[in-house]
């Protein structure tokens, strides 16, 4: 109790030194907090960019020059479908419909309807779709024979929403030379679950008359023993940071790397990723974080050394006081505790204020702040002890005689 009281009184008596030491501890502690906050903010921003910078990809041919009008084997589509790293998967393929029997080789020239087998209305530019009650865009993921048609088709066929429409579909297939041809199909009954009004622009005028769930078309093909070939497929990554894992997985399923010098073909057996922006930004962040992590312990060490030197300097300036305590019979350990206590009390004030300030700035957590504070206090104790050992190294008598 006497030592604690003396420590408190000494802090008051050495006012100027106490204030200086308090400010130094506050500043140094704050610097450490700020460095730590900087690292945490950088790490948080790095996590943010994974959400804000999307990475997309699409199936392409081997030369990477075409990502539509492809022939994508079913196994390749299945690979994308089964990959958990991917989201927003979009598939599409052209399907020709006729309301009467015609030779399939004439399907593109005669009175036929151009359709798009897909799993999302995103495949088209049509946003305003009027749906049958109970139906929505999710219906495009079904296997049922449902269609969404253009308004002109609705009028041409003299039908309406919710009614059935009998249509012939013409299967397309691709030979070994990548030549597309069409086969005659059977008539099937499709339920009209929605319609859209195309805008009066070139894109919409050339757009699909019918949207049909691609799973329904695939099922029909299987039923009739035909191979179904997707025209285009695209996706985005759930977590852009997993780009390498995605590439690895797709390679295992049979996708090839893009080879610009390869012979151009329709085969959709390569993947093209739009990842350059993400990779560049992520690399910058990773470099920044790595440098901070290397630099952080060095800087912390340097700051702790500064604290130690400061404490040592303060102790040396109170050398005479130390000797006087010892001459009067105060034990070495008691003097050590006294000086330690003084420094810790002052430093505690400084670190608490710095902790509060950093919390206000939205900085480190209580736990991290407490650990940093303990580090500072530990360094102060060590600095005081080393200084005391240095001062008390020589014989007390010789030290007093030298001082006197």
């Amino acid at each position: 109790m006497f030592i604690f009281r003396t420590a408190v009184e000494n802090i008051r008596r050495h006012k100027r030194k106490s204030i200086l030491f308090f400010m130094a501890c506050l500043l140094l502690s704050l610097i450490m907090q700020v460095i730590l906050i900087n690292l945490q903010v950088t790490e948080r921003e790095y996590l943010e960019i994974r959400r804000s910078i999307p990475v997309t990809g699409r199936v392409t041919n081997l030369t990477g020059t075409s990502s539509s009008r492809l022939v994508i084997p079913e196994k390749n589509i299945a690979a994308i479908e089964n990959c958990d790293f991917l989201k927003d998967k979009l598939y599409q393929a052209p399907v020709w419909f006729t309301n009467h029997e015609i030779d399939s080789k004439d399907v593109r020239m005669n009175n036929s309807y151009y359709g798009l087998a897909t799993n999302s209305a995103e495949a088209t530019s049509y946003k305003e779709i009027t749906w049958l009650e109970g139906e929505s865009e999710k219906s495009l993921s079904d296997e049922e024979l449902k269609i969404i048609v253009s308004k002109p088709l609705l009028e041409a066929e003299n039908t309406s929403l919710g009614k059935d429409l009998d249509l012939y579909i013409h299967y397309q297939h691709c030979d070994a030379y990548d030549v597309i041809s069409y086969d005659f199909s059977k008539q099937h009954t499709f339920r009209i679950i929605g319609f859209y009004t195309a805008n009066d622009n070139e894109q919409d005028r050339q757009g699909a008359d019918i949207l049909v769930p691609y799973k329904a078309i695939t099922a029909l093909h299987k039923e009739e023993g035909r191979r179904y070939l997707m025209d285009g497929a695209s996706f985005s990554l759930v977590d852009p940071a997993e780009i390498n894992a995605v590439k690895e997985e797709m390679k295992k399923t049979g996708y090839l790397s893009i080879a610009p010098g390869a012979v151009p073909s329709r085969k959709g057996n390569a993947l093209l990723f739009e990842d350059s922006t993400f990779i560049k930004t992520a690399t910058n962040f990773e470099d920044n974080i790595r440098l901070n992590k290397i630099f952080l312990p060095v800087l912390l060490g340097a700051l702790l050394v500064v604290i130690y030197l400061l404490v040592n300097m303060l102790m040396q300036s109170r050398r005479e006081e130390y000797l006087l305590y010892r001459v009067m019979g105060m034990r070495r350990r008691s003097v050590g505790v006294l000086f330690c206590l003084e420094h810790i009390l002052i430093a505690l004030g400084g670190v608490i204020v710095s902790l509060i300030l950093s919390m206000i700035m939205g900085g480190t957590s209580w736990m991290q702040g407490a650990i940093l504070s303990l580090l500072v206090l530990l360094c102060i104790c060590v600095g005081t002890m080393i200084a005391l050992v240095s001062i008390g190294r020589n014989s007390l008598m010789l030290a007093v005689q030298k001082n006197d």
Binding site: H14, M328, G329, L396
Partner: protein
């Protein structure tokens, strides 16, 4: 009683070994005033510091009230039995006169209140009044500071005062006051006062004078200054 038997003290500097004391043998008793005189560098202050327990002799023994100094808790000895008084007073500069005298009392376990009362009494005894006790050392004259130092030495509760050139920084008037004070402590309160000096006036007040030369203590002389 302090018995000094064949004491020698040597210390090692960076470049050489220095033998400060050789074959010192003497006795000190309570109720007596001793003076140790000699030239500068003769080893007087070193001898006094050994008696104060600031270090232990390299050879020989110092026995204090039957206990050899090497077996004593020297910190306890300095806080409860013996006290030093220095030429430069060596007061805590940031403590008032009262706080300076109170410190050793509180160090020995007295409560703040009791220590304050006792300190006041001691200061009064050495002629420091209530107004002066609130002053810091820098506000006091040399003589006043030395009186505070003596009061602080008395505050240990011990009966041994070891003074190293206590009047070195004082004028003749204050010199007389300090010498008189020390003599009074010896006569009235049975203190053992050992003063190191090369001031004849201070030496002549002593009951016994030892002469230190080249680290060796000369025979006890009768007061040569009389």
């Amino acid at each position: 009683m302090i018995q000094v038997n064949d004491v020698g003290y040597t210390y090692q500097t960076k470049y050489q070994k220095v033998e400060v004391l050789k074959n010192v043998t003497c006795t000190f008793e309570y109720g007596k005033y001793y003076a140790i005189v000699g030239e500068s560098g003769s080893g007087k202050s070193t001898f006094l510091s050994l008696l104060a327990g600031l270090d232990t002799p390299t050879i020989g023994e110092i026995v204090i009230d039957g206990v050899e100094i090497k077996n004593l808790n020297r910190d306890e000895y300095r806080s409860q039995k013996a006290a030093m008084v220095y030429q430069s007073f060596y007061l805590f500069p940031l403590l008032t006169a009262l706080e300076n005298v109170r410190f050793p009392l509180e160090l020995n376990g007295l409560s703040k209140k009791k220590a304050t009362e006792k300190a006041r009494l001691l200061l009064n005894q050495v002629g420091i009044n209530e107004e002066l006790e609130k002053h810091y050392p820098r506000m006091l004259s040399g003589g006043e500071q030395q009186r505070v130092a003596i009061a602080r030495a008395m505050a240990t509760g011990g009966k041994i005062i070891l003074a190293d050139e206590p009047t070195g920084n004082l004028d003749s008037k204050n010199e007389k006051i300090i010498v008189h004070l020390l003599a009074e402590l010896v006569k009235k309160e049975n203190y053992m006062v050992i003063v190191v000096t090369h001031n004849p006036f201070v030496a002549e007040a002593a009951d016994r004078i030892y002469h230190m030369q080249d680290g060796m203590l000369g025979e006890e002389k009768a007061n040569v200054y009389l």
